[in-house]
Amino acid sequence: MTDATVPTEQLGLNEDRTKEVMTVNVGPHHPATHGVLRLVVDLEGEIVRELRPVIGYVHTGIEKSCEDKSYWKVIPFVERMDYVSYFFQMEAYCGAVERLIGLEIPPRAKYLRTLFLELNRIHSHLVWLGTTALDLGAISMLWYCFRERDKILDLFEMATGQRMHTRYFQVGGVIEDIPLGFEAKCRAFAEEMPVRVGQYQDLLDRNEVFLSRTKGTGIVPRERLLELGVTGPLLRAAGDPWDLRKVFDYLAYPEVEFKIPVGTVGDNYDRYRVRVAEMVESARIVEQCLDALPEGPFIADDRKYVLPPRSELSTSMESLIHHFKLVTEGYRVPPGEVYYSIEGPRGELGCFVVADGSAKPARVHFRDPSFVNLQAFREMALDSYVADMIASLGMLDPILGGVDR
């Protein structure tokens, strides 16, 4: 402890040492890095002077593995990229392949896909809220958010049999129809969700500690965010209402009414508010999808690309042949390339598929939102305290599986 009455020169401190810059490794193993993100941070005291993210610690070579597999075998691979929003990756890939084939999916499948996408969005935001609040010290939020998350996972398990990584979307629609009782349970969840979000907001919205940590921290101006290619809730919190659901009409989003929450200042508090409001809007979309769910087939009819129903296999020879062909070799996609993007919970999730006419894709590439958003992190954290850096990292919501692929 320095005595405040003694001037610094007399203390015998080297002048330079008060401005010493220390390089600290916020390593891949760290409780607050949301995965295996490594940050090499130059600190001057508590202030961040330079930040270099080092990624690649969970690089799985998914894009390369996809070139080795037939088109429908790729679906479980790409699910596991951004491992919290797995339905979105399935949708991006299946949408791209459907564009390549020129396959129209039936309306029931569109609504079912929208329903599950929005449930997954709520799931992703709940995981985000739980872990970010944990980082900022509001530890009990983790348990509350995961309680709701378990309810969503129950819904997924009811419909698809798996909690995570469900491989539910297939090229042409969805693999199975929803079971009886799903609608009632889903509706009960969608009604309960805004109440729960209200409870979360009661805990955090006006919480003095939370406000002082998130208000005014991590601000990047909107134009700079656009230059850096940032999309999603980060951009919306900065005041730009760019949401691919409204802009590029895909699936059942044109028929569903929902609002886009937009922030004003673009600090961490706005990002928090935007995502929390998005959860409420997603619950509304889920309700509307349930109300408007049309009857009909849940997958397209084209037997060249879609498995025939099993009941037909015992009666129709053609179905058997189609089934055999599809399961062993897979379907061939006419050559071409397509870039198809959707609005994931973190931003624009794009899938680029090159088909060369064979049964395996020639190139699958994902434009992952977390990878691009991570470039904005440096500007969010520069010249602010380490604690603000942690808050910004939480509000940035990177998922390292998507960053590293």
Binding site: I55, G56, W242, V247, Y339, V372, R405
Partner: protein, 171 residues
Amino acid sequence: MPDAPGLELIRGEIDRDHPGAVLATSFDRGQAALIVDPERVLEALRWLKEEPGQRYDFLSSLHAADYLPAEPRFGVHYELINRDRVERIRVKAMLADPGEELPEIDSCVELFPTAEAQERETYDFFGIVFRGHPNLTRILMPDDYVGWPQRRDFPVGGEPVTFTYSEQRFD
């Protein structure tokens, strides 16, 4: 997207300002693409970004694809969006494999700062050098990795699954 006639109009206007930059156009499955000469890719991108009628100022994605065995082998794709008119356009630059050295193309980091990490990723996986990039190093693979993993002639890797005794008995 600009539709097919719109794409031809854009091509015509670029040809007026930068003749020879655009080699071909392609309108496939509802997506518009301009195939440009890799040496002139910056001119084309700058024109698309700054021309008052075009203003494709958001680079959504920069990625590459290896079209082996077709030549030219590498294609660098730029996905651009005009957010006011909500239109997408793709710019493709086809690079040939020079054999011993690495293929090169100009970096667009001054135009689109978002390209920084994406160009590093492309370099990491394909070995395509972006001239003028501030820090072109490996980003996802370990720094001392040898090889360009996502090229088509790079093996997928992995190991064969070994079973306890059968390898010795049936070999």
